[in-house]
């Protein structure tokens, strides 16, 4: 009885305090408010995933649905801080040698695997030397570690990353789906075929450990009482396997789900208007792009690329398809990377008349009056190949309409995802395509636009020595101020040259029930690193 009264009083005080706060400062974020309350222990959150996960972050089959589980089960050396700069996780601190070729990471000495074994430097060395650097395995994200020669064990709790050439982004890469695996279980096994671990009984170091897993239905994790950080407040985290996006919406409205990032924004209004659920816009390190194959001569002309971007009303597409959850992009470096992002670039505005003028200068004009631009008797037609996924079909249909308005005939060909990858990414047999990149919280975009990667992820096949030089410098400079300068220059160059026609930086629409508190103001994926701080309010 007494207890109840005390709780009630605390509750009332809390509410009063909350009110005071919101009167005091309107822009106090929700998390700040939450912290004033007394976090309670207990309860379960439910998170949707679209398919069965693989409990191994490096496994080539570990897609997005696995990442959100592995991030909670396992830990990595660093994690994105609340400002997205790399912050300590398994590594307490790190330092780089003067030639920037050796990084030393000092590990925590109080970490236990879920089976009670001690975590040591050997686990880190094993994960990188035997799995990531083993080219035959083709581990996920191993391309981030192309410059890594080996990982040396200095002592039980110190490791040294030895590089071929400087990689300023190393600490950021070490916090992006690069969790450490237990050597004592993997040693001598084929890491991809160890089903007893990858599919049944994973052993991690994270704040939660596996309780039950039913294929096609759910994964339930329970609190790890021996977690090295703050012990989690929630009792359980449940991942429900639900393939259909409409179901996610239905279940969060009934409270059967607690939090997720809504990909398909069609239903956003319904959620925004519902009680007990809210939508939070979160910046992410992603950008949507349209590319024109640089192997084709007419697209090597910068003015033609600019003209095409001028013709597209990006704000209307953002409002229509993305319901406003995006900001227009000028380059590839997203505003989420506050340290590096700049608005001080030439912006390509929506201006169909200017687009026509630019094309006219390049020799494209409607000389035969059929409504389609032509040059030397050849009409301006573009084959537009896209993969069927998420918003891509809707967006590309609008792009097609905008281009037809300035007299470019666009043949849109939507194909099944794997076919698209084969044709566009592997064979480079395309003229124009539309897609997006997501990258670690670091501005190094060499993978996507450096000329050395034209056979890799530089899908447009863009080559520009000036940009190459800037990207190389940026990748090898650890000094933050120098790096900022380099990337500001790089952004200005990108915005002008358009190696990709940058469309927008999508924001994540994070859907969350109001009862769930303690979630930091980060994208859903990054907030999972802080799941031990989440709690449910009665």
């Amino acid at each position: 009885m007494n207890k109840k009264i005390i709780i009630t009083i605390i509750g009332i005080m809390g509410i009063l305090f909350l009110n005071a706060c919101s009167y005091g400062a309107d822009n106090t974020s929700t998390t700040n408010n939450d912290k004033e309350e007394d976090p309670q222990k207990g309860g379960k959150v439910s998170i949707p995933i679209v398919a069965d996960p693989t409990f191994n972050p490096w496994h080539p089959n570990a897609y997005a649905e696995s990442n959100v589980v592995n991030r909670v089960l396992f830990s990595s050396l660093t994690k994105p801080g609340k400002d997205l700069a790399p912050s300590p996780d398994l590594a307490e601190e790190w330092e780089v040698s003067d030639d920037e070729l050796e990084w030393t990471f000092f590990l925590r000495d109080d970490v236990l695997w879920h089976d009670g074994e001690k975590f040591t430097a050997d686990d880190v060395a094993y994960t990188f030397n035997e799995i990531v650097l083993n080219e035959e395995l083709g581990a996920n994200n191993s391309s981030y570690f192309g410059q890594l020669n080996k990982v040396e064990v200095v002592d039980e709790y110190t490791v040294k990353f030895v590089l071929e050439s400087p990689v300023a982004a190393l600490p950021a890469y070490l916090g992006f789906n690069t969790e450490i695996l237990p050597k004592h279980i993997f040693e001598g096994e084929d890491p991809w075929n160890l089903t007893s671990f990858n599919k049944e009984n994973p052993i991690g170091t994270g704040a939660f450990k596996l309780k039950t897993y039913n294929s096609g239905q759910s994964v339930v994790l329970e609190r790890n009482e021996d977690y090295y950080g703050e012990t989690a407040l929630l009792d359980e985290v449940e991942y429900k396997v639900l393939g259909d996006a409409n179901t996610h919406v239905a279940q969060i409205l009934t409270g059967e789900l607690s939090i997720f990032a809504l990909d398909d924004l069609a239903a956003i209004e319904k959620i925004e208007n519902a009680d007990g659920v809210d939508v939070y816009a979160r910046d992410t390190t992603r950008f949507f792009w349209l590319i024109l194959n640089q192997e084709i001569e007419k697209y090597q002309d910068k003015e033609v690329r600019q003209a095409i971007l001028h013709a597209i009303d990006r704000q209307t597409i953002i409002d229509t398809v993305l319901k406003g959850y995006a900001t227009i992009a000028d380059s590839g470096i997203a505003p989420a990377l506050q340290q590096y992002y700049t608005e001080d670039v030439t912006r390509i505005e929506y201006d169909p008349d200017l687009a026509k003028e630019l094309l006219k200068e390049a020799g494209w004009e409607d000389s035969d009056g059929d409504g389609i631009l032509d040059k030397d008797g050849e009409p301006f037609t573009i084959d537009f190949e896209i993969g069927i996924q998420g918003d891509l079909e809707a967006v590309s249909q609008m792009v097609q309409q905008y281009l037809e308005e300035i007299g470019i005939k666009v043949n849109l060909n939507a194909m099944e995802w794997n076919t698209m990858i084969q044709q566009v990414v592997v064979e480079r047999d395309y003229e124009m395509t539309l897609n997006w990149w997501r990258y670690p919280a670091d501005p190094d975009l060499s993978a996507y636009m450096h000329s050395k990667n034209v056979k890799g992820n530089n899908i447009p096949g863009y080559k520009n020595e000036e940009l190459d030089k800037l990207l190389d410098e940026g990748a090898q400079t650890s000094d933050i101020e120098k790096r900022q300068k380099i990337y500001i220059e790089a952004q200005q160059l990108m915005a002008e040259e358009l190696p990709y026609l940058f469309l927008w930086y999508p924001q994540e629409a994070q859907v969350r029930i109001d009862k769930l508190k303690g979630v930091p103001d980060l994208s859903f994926g990054d907030a999972l690193h802080y799941i031990n701080e989440w709690y449910l309010e009665e």
């Binding site: 409409n246 209004e269 398809v321 309409q401 194909m415 099944e416």
Partner: protein, 297 residues
């Protein structure tokens, strides 16, 4: 077993059937539902094939009214999620859907008729192989194959037509087979045979014309099935892809708007249902009109 009972049909019936399509139409007009369905289908075809000539709004163009606009004079069915005129899309989409249904039906008829007629006419091992094959195809849950085939072969309209036809010719083959067996026994066929006509000539000149009414019935029912299959694969995202509108992919597209604009899904769904229903009623009506037992009543 079937053949022996069929032969017992009296000669009088035969002449009734041969005396032409007028009787068929006459009998059909007695079946009200079938008659109404026929009129409705003619209307729908006029609407989707001639309608776009009158209603000149582009089905893919973005309208000034913006996305999800309400019903108005300019947009009698409003605009869709991207701001395109729904009425125009219903017309164009209907056109594609009906053409796909029709084309798939014709292709299926071609396969079914060839296989059925050959099996019935040549008998022997040709019959065994062809009819066993037909039965085997019927026994397989063909939707699994349709899915796998479309995922890997792509979703161009021609591929969709071929795959639907390949999954729906078996019933036709069985009907044609049965009819061929029956007609082969009649004197005028035997007479032609005796006079030295080639097999192909007998089949095309004497037998197939007799089967045409049954083929029409099967064809009508096959169109209904083909439209349903097209919309089902579109629902799974493996049908004809945007920007080409079909009722099936419009319905698929509207799914994500089930919360905020459910009407987008109601329209194409209702259109598919009503058209398929009409084809099925028409097919049933035609079959009854051809059924001698029905005539006696």
């Amino acid at each position: 077993m079937n053949a022996s009972t069929n032969i017992n049909i009296k000669k009088k019936d035969v002449f009734k059937k041969r005396s032409g399509k007028n009787i068929l139409l006459q009998r059909l007009s007695r079946n009200k539902i079938a008659y109404v369905s026929l009129c409705f289908l003619i209307l729908v075809h006029i609407l989707v094939f001639i309608g776009p000539l009158v209603w000149k709004v582009s089905p893919t163009g973005l309208q000034d009214a913006g996305a999800l606009a309400n019903w108005s004079l300019q947009h009698p069915m409003g605009t869709d999620d991207l701001g395109r005129d729904v009425f125009s899309r219903m017309l164009y989409g209907g056109r594609i859907t009906l053409i796909v249904g029709l084309a798939a039906m014709l292709f299926a008829l071609l396969i079914g008729t060839i296989i059925g007629a050959c099996a019935g006419f040549f008998r022997g091992y040709v019959e065994t192989v062809l009819m066993r094959f037909t039965e085997a195809m019927m026994a397989i849950p063909n939707f699994f194959f349709v899915l796998v085939a479309l995922t890997v072969l792509g979703t161009s309209p021609i591929m969709v037509v071929i795959v639907i036809a390949l999954s729906g010719w078996m019933e036709i083959a069985r009907v044609v087979y049965g009819e061929t067996l029956k007609w082969k026994e009649y004197e005028f066929v035997e007479a032609a045979n005796a006079s030295g006509a080639t097999s192909i000539r007998i089949l095309t000149k004497y037998i197939i014309p007799q089967i045409i009414p049954s083929i029409i019935v099967s064809g009508t029912l096959t169109i209904a099935a083909a439209i349903l299959t097209e919309s089902a694969i579109s629902y799974l995202g493996m049908g004809i892809q945007p920007p080409t509108p079909t009722w099936g992919n419009m319905l698929q597209d509207s799914q994500q708007y089930i919360w905020t604009a459910p009407i987008l899904g109601v329209l194409p769904g209702a259109a598919i249902t009503i058209v398929v229903l009409a084809y099925n009623f028409l097919g049933d009506g035609l079959r009854d009109a051809l059924d001698p037992r029905f005539v006696k009543k």
